[in-house]
Chain length 355, copies 2
């Protein structure tokens, strides 16, 4: 299967990382990009849980979508095993999926929505109803991204130089992307002149994923070390910092890839706009403030080793939190598919999240 297919008439939009094909899920293995564009087949819910945990699939909306398809795989197997008890039995699978990664709320959001579909599903082919729901989640995410692309790009003066962090693109979503959706739309309109991308240590999502994805779509990109972002702002090279989110708390605080908070501080200091682009599935009204969001720490080896080779002296330790929290008051604009909030307040967040 070719790894990029023109999924739409939108320009600069050729990458899709999640496909339901025939009766199974195929996931672009993001650990291997850009060296290899290899798809892995996930034929069981355990495959999907493992793929989320090991970052074969990553990015908050993409994790939610993959999990929704994982519920379909779980239901098919549980129904085949025992048609009468599957709705109880599947709970174990859902808890496994929910525990795969802690920070992105889209995971729990998608599973919650699939639980609703499970409640309504009937008969031996109930999993097909769940597949329809998972497909809807997937398609709605792409539509939300396109809408956010329009809303966010409309805020950019022409020409703007933008800086993004991590990968909040097609690879991180159902397709088109959140932050990269705004950049895609802005670039297509001629509003975006130069895209800077932080390399985003330790996992190098910027170098490995964002650069690959933008170049697939012929959007030029210039990588910088994470530590160079403040200097770029000081030198007047950046008009907007545009990032995605893994969770938006009720007060507007945003959890996103480690390093985001530093960008927000620098942006405010330099009068550079700071834009968070996230679908409403990323909003978690049950979490009042950002300091209550669980922040995942991953293995120290992501810092201590490179290319499977230890780089730090033996005996050195590392602390590897992979998300941080940006306070709402540093966010100039929160863009969702339902609208835009400037300097978002709790009331703004609640209004955007209301169904």
């Amino acid at each position: 299967m070719p790894y990029h297919r023109r999924m739409s008439s939108f320009p600069h939009d050729s990458v899709r990382a999640i496909h339901w094909i025939g009766d199974g899920l195929r996931l672009l293995d993001q650990r291997r990009l850009p060296d290899e564009t290899r798809f892995l087949s996930a034929t069981s819910v355990d495959d999907v849980t493992g793929a989320i945990r090991d970052m074969t699939v990553r990015g908050a909306p993409a994790i939610g979508i993959a999990a929704a398809y994982g519920v379909v795989l779980a239901a098919r197997a549980r129904i085949a095993a025992d048609e009468r008890t599957w709705k109880q039995a599947i709970e174990e699978d859902l808890r496994g999926l929910e525990g795969a990664r802690p920070t992105a709320i889209n995971l729990r959001w998608a599973i919650g929505r699939m639980r609703g579909a499970i409640g309504r599903a009937e008969g031996i082919d109930a999993w097909r109803d769940l597949l329809a729901e998972a497909r809807a989640i997937h398609e709605e995410d792409i539509a939300a991204n396109r809408r956010m692309g329009e809303l966010g790009a409309a805020l950019l003066a022409t020409p703007s130089n933008v800086l993004t962090h991590c990968n909040a693109g097609s690879l991180a979503t159902g397709g088109y992307g959140t932050a990269l959706g705004v950049i895609r739309c802005g670039y297509g309109r001629g509003a975006v002149r130069q895209v800077y991308a932080d390399e985003t240590r330790p996992w190098l999502q910027g170098s490995r994923l964002t650069a690959w994805e933008l170049l697939q779509d012929r959007i030029p990109v210039r990588l910088i070390a994470d530590g160079a972002a403040s200097y770029a702002m000081q030198q007047g090279k950046v008009d907007w910092v545009i990032v995605g989110a893994d969770r938006v708390a009720a007060n507007g605080d945003v959890a996103n890839k480690i390093g985001t908070y530093s960008l927000a501080l620098s942006a405010r200091h330099h009068g550079v706009g700071f834009m968070v682009v996230a679908p409403t599935s990323t909003i978690d009204l049950a979490t009042a403030r950002g300091d209550q969001i669980p922040i995942e720490s991953r293995a120290p080896d992501e810092i201590l080793a490179l290319c499977s080779r230890r780089i730090a002296a033996g005996g050195a330790d590392a602390w590897n939190p992979v998300f941080d929290v940006t306070p709402a008051d540093l966010i100039d604009v929160l863009v969702t598919e339902r609208g835009v909030a400037r300097r978002p307040t709790p009331a703004d967040v609640a209004a955007l999240a209301a169904p």
Copy 2:
């Protein structure tokens, strides 16, 4: 030769990267640490110029010291070639050394001091007088570092958690270090509880050099991604950020490794102390403001490739400035061997630099 020798009775101080042995210079190859502790022999001024350019030796004071020894090698060769004209002929060598790297002012400072010694030197053994001057520069640097260690450590409450960036240690100086000198002294006194070190992309001086150097001296160190520094401060894990400098302008602005400026912004935002530790040889009164300091950019491949393997998608570009400038008003304390200035003013800098 063993790569670490107890050079003194100071605790936690075993590493030396620059040695004049017999009649030549030996440099610890910092490109190969921590995998190999290999010394290279430099037997000509061109060897030294090359070693500075390719970062076999790096760190502002260390570059100056290596260059001073390079002048000795140049003089010996020029005197052997023509005893009458060597003082004119050596100018070409000095200009080559001066041009090896642009940002660290210690390079020009050391060559300026060696020019003075050249002016005074006489006879076929004139190079021996120059060697005495180079040795003096080297020993004075170590003494300055010890003094700065005392002065800086005296500012730390007990116990303090400190964060450093890049490598401003024994490897970056004649020995003992600037920022790491303060940490060495503070750790020896029990004032420093935890040392965090930024990994410091792209060259990974933190992971490769600072971790190695501190562990050689049994000082525990915890590495973090550069992007995690602001989060560490937000979480209350850091009391002081302690860094070195490549050049201090007359107004107190400081050029240092890329990423330093971002740390200074975050430190001020969080009420964390920001300490710059630099010998007076790093002060450049001829440069009025930081924005006049030449900032070196190095090859994009330092960002685009890792372990000699390209990591970014083909076609991606990179911008790789390797220093940035921190404005004086973000500096809480400037520590030199002649004393300490809090929130340094131009008058403070001038007073510290006065001979």
